[in-house]
Amino acid sequence: MIALLLRDLRLAIRAGGGFGLGLAFFLIVVVLVPFGVGPNSSLLSKIAPGILWLGALLACLLSLDRIFALDWEDGSLDLLATAPLPLEAIVSVKALAHWLTTGLPLVIAAPVFGVLLNLPAAGYGPLVLSLLIGTPALSVIGTFGAALTVGLKRGGLLLSLLVLPLYVPTLIFGAEMARRSIEGLSAQTSLLMLAGITSAVIALLPFASAAVLRVNLR
């Protein structure tokens, strides 16, 4: 399991693409937003948590099809499926590797990008916390979507269509948590709901992803 995790991490970092690309995409989204809505800093600080969450979500989406596509093409996915490790564990490790290479850098970079968007000082802690709790759910749900579309030739667009509706609850509670704490309201409900969604998704969705992957490998 650890060997597989290390292999995926090394591939993501050395093969180019995945690792830096998500961050760069996140940066570009953050830079483009002021061009779209105007340089009004009070407006920007109001929508900053939402933009940062959306940017993280889109950056995450961008790298999803790489989770299985390369392994599918060169056949190593078949090898993994016949390995003694259960497919559920493989799927979980893949999701973890995806989170470590995409989600975690986004969480670390979010405060820096928050400065660009004039995020109020009260928002930094809750925003980072909500991203830290929420992005694992994005990776796990995305792994399910990637497993669904792995055998398709033009799966990229379909993948977004399938995965984005599934992201709705995470996005709502994540952005809501950051927004509420900026406005000085209690963010406890959204924090607990977000944590609940993430843990439920981590516990249950790998089974669905593995089942889907088995069908696709048939």
């Binding site: 055998g151 399938l162 599934l166 709502i172 509670f173 959204s190």
Partner: protein, 249 residues
Amino acid sequence: MSSIWEYANPKKFIATTSRLLPWVTGLAVVLMTVGLVWGFFFTPDDFRQGSTVKIIYIHVPAAMMAINTWAMMLVTSLVWIVRRHHVSALAARAAAPIGAVMTVIALATGAIWGQPMWGTWWEWDPRLTSFLILFLFYLGYIALWSAIEDDDTAADLTSILCLVGSVFAILSRYAVNFWNQGLHQGASVLRAGALVGDTEERVSNVFATPLFISMAGFVMLFIALVFLRTQTEIRARRMRALLARERMQ
């Protein structure tokens, strides 16, 4: 005593539904005509909403069918996963576009009603938003069906998507509820059926009777469409099998 699973045989399914189809279609036409004509022309105008209230005879049944279609797809997907009956998977496939259209009808009639009543075509109200999300789920489901070439693989993947999607659809419904307070009224139709209690919020019986007839008409319409579309799917698959066999020779 014959078991219900006999109808999983495509031949038997086609034979039975062909016999039932004219009756169901006739019933749908009669019920919808009675319900809509009664609703549109023989009910009084609401004293605050005027004649716009009459859109409920389309809006409410369509919204009901939009949700129930997904529930039906969930059941048939489960039957496919557990018992591997092809008719079941094809019925789910046949129902999805109907559900998507019902969702659009509910959203469109709601917007047309909302413009004079709420003063806006669209509001990020929980019910409206969750219906839009439901529509996205339908789109994804239909797209996945059409993207995969192998029939059994497509049936497997879409049924798992349907299961996972159901959980997330319900989750989104409550998340959206938390996210914004609503403009849309709460559930008031079912309370209209209970004759006891005379709260101000319930739908008056003057409107309720044609509404229930119209709802029954929409259910019949849905059943007729599912029968017809499932038959078409079965025949299309049979035709493809025949063509493939011919090419082999």
